[in-house]
Subunit: 307 residues, 2 copies
């Protein structure tokens, strides 16, 4: 059975200052044709175009915090959506101050967007449900950075149980009861016998999950939010030789990220948010993989699909 | 004699929405090692890096108006200057509201730049001198757009007169009088005779000039400010088949730009600010050159040197 898509496209992997190869933070996530933009550093709209992602398909934008490398691309992205004819409203999940900033910018340019922005202000006290539909949950959770900053957790809902169609006949189960079976209930068949759910259904594939930790110092307080995720993005601005600088600026090293991935028992770790001082990023993989083996560089243009 | 540099690098040539080949408006101008940034659309700092221009050498930034495609790159550019260790103050010439916007953005990210911004608020009533040193004048002048918008005029000062050294001996002129001669005065020689300036000096090369007209509807009111410039950049968002749209949005066509270039008797015309709808830009040259012959596309990465 073909699973619904769960695909992450990296649009930017640089920390504060971009390099000629690396743009500031932005990621494009497609889960079952729901399109999420996670952070929106400068030139995100250009990266979206270069990577042939669907600009207007984005209905939800998540901004982790208000350091410029995570949102300076947003006014331009929204302007282009407007100029290219967008009418559908868009949801922005972000610190409250962002609304004031955008309003001032659009007022100065005498711009009135042709679509509505639905604001959802983030808080960083605990796990908070930001979005839910029939297939997905999205939560924010607190990170530990110099300023207010949240991570985001994207999680599929449990899939309905799979029905073994041959057994429906065998146990003389009414078609009307399929819905009950899919949801895990037992049913009474046409002969009045109780049929245990697990006789006629099999387990669905487990729900997949992705956690995004944009800017944070090493902190084990996040483990409860990200444990067992299939894919973890954890910033690694520095290598371990700059651990003092990492602590001082509330950032992490590749080693820190790997330690978190290991403790959280995740399946795979993505490293990103690299300081512009580093040319050879393989050192990040070397450092992290001594602690946690399944890790990759989340560099610009890379796509990670969860199967 | 080698002249001082007068070199314009185009960083962006797109109008409101960038394309995969064209970034929004920004230009980098070097006159005699004075470095000016003219407008600063999104991703300007990335374009500066890609084109190996000197980011930290920029001491003067000119923002024509507050439509996003002309300034959305400024917060990121200033942040990067800060992060890369800038200490030297920078001059920003822009509409007053820009200061409020930048202050709010930097406040939200708890950022305190390590260098001072000297603000020079533009007005769009007439020709205004914005900057002057021993070699250059920079002026703003009013354009006619949907919102407050100015063009900029960069003009070398008159060079001192060139002295024919052989004639200094011939006319027995004291070395102490060279300064007077260079400034065009007559002098009295060692024999007490009045020596006419033009006997011993020759005309210097004429001063060069560049005018930048970012966003404007066709208007002959700008002719007095830009007449006889060596290089004129005039926006041409549209081709003539979209003249109605140009008028409605207070923009120009390639034909409009050529008409202005002709009436202003400029030496060379640069076309830019192209709408994202156009793929083949040669049509802009075709349209303009039927009216004004010496024109070029000011596309990303091109360099124009005045000799």
């Amino acid at each position: 059975m073909k699973r619904q898509k769960f695909e992450l496209l990296i649009l930017g992997s640089s920390s504060a200052s971009p390099t000629s190869e690396r743009n500031p933070s932005a990621q494009f996530l497609n889960i079952a044709e729901r399109y999420f933009l996670i952070d929106c550093g400068e030139a995100t709209q250009i990266q979206i175009r270069k990577n042939k992602a669907k600009l207007q398909a984005i209905d939800h934008i998540f901004i982790s915090h208000l350091h410029g490398d995570h949102f300076f691309g947003l006014p331009g992205l929204l302007s282009s959506m407007h100029l290219l004819g967008r009418k559908n409203r868009i949801n922005i999940y972000a610190p409250e101050k962002l609304k004031t900033i955008l309003n001032l910018i659009f007022e100065a340019s005498d711009t009135y967007l042709n679509f509505e922005i639905i604001w959802h202000f983030t808080t960083n006290d605990k796990l908070n449900l930001l979005f839910e539909d029939d297939k997905i949950f999205v939560y924010s959770f607190p990170l530990k950075h110099r300023i207010f900053c949240t991570g985001f957790l994207f999680k599929e809902k449990e899939l309905p149980r799979n029905i073994d169609k041959y057994k429906l006949d065998k146990y003389k189960i009414s078609i009307a009861d399929i819905h009950k079976l899919k949801n895990g209930h037992d049913v009474v068949n046409e002969n009045g016998e109780l049929i245990k759910n697990n006789l006629v259904t099999i387990n669905p594939l487990p729900p997949r999950s992705y956690a995004y930790c944009s800017d944070t110092i090493y902190t084990e307080t996040i483990l409860e939010y990200i444990k067992n995720v299939n894919l973890l993005y954890h910033e690694s601005t520095f290598l371990d030789d700059k651990i003092d600088r990492a602590k001082k600026t509330f950032h992490s090293t590749a080693k820190n990220a790997a330690q978190i991935a290991k403790l959280a028992n995740v399946e795979k770790l993505l490293l990103g948010h690299f300081s512009a001082r580093y040319g050879n990023l393989n050192l990040f993989i070397e450092e992290a993989s001594s602690i946690f083996n399944n890790c990759e560089l989340a560099t610009d243009g890379k796509v990670f699909s969860l199967s």
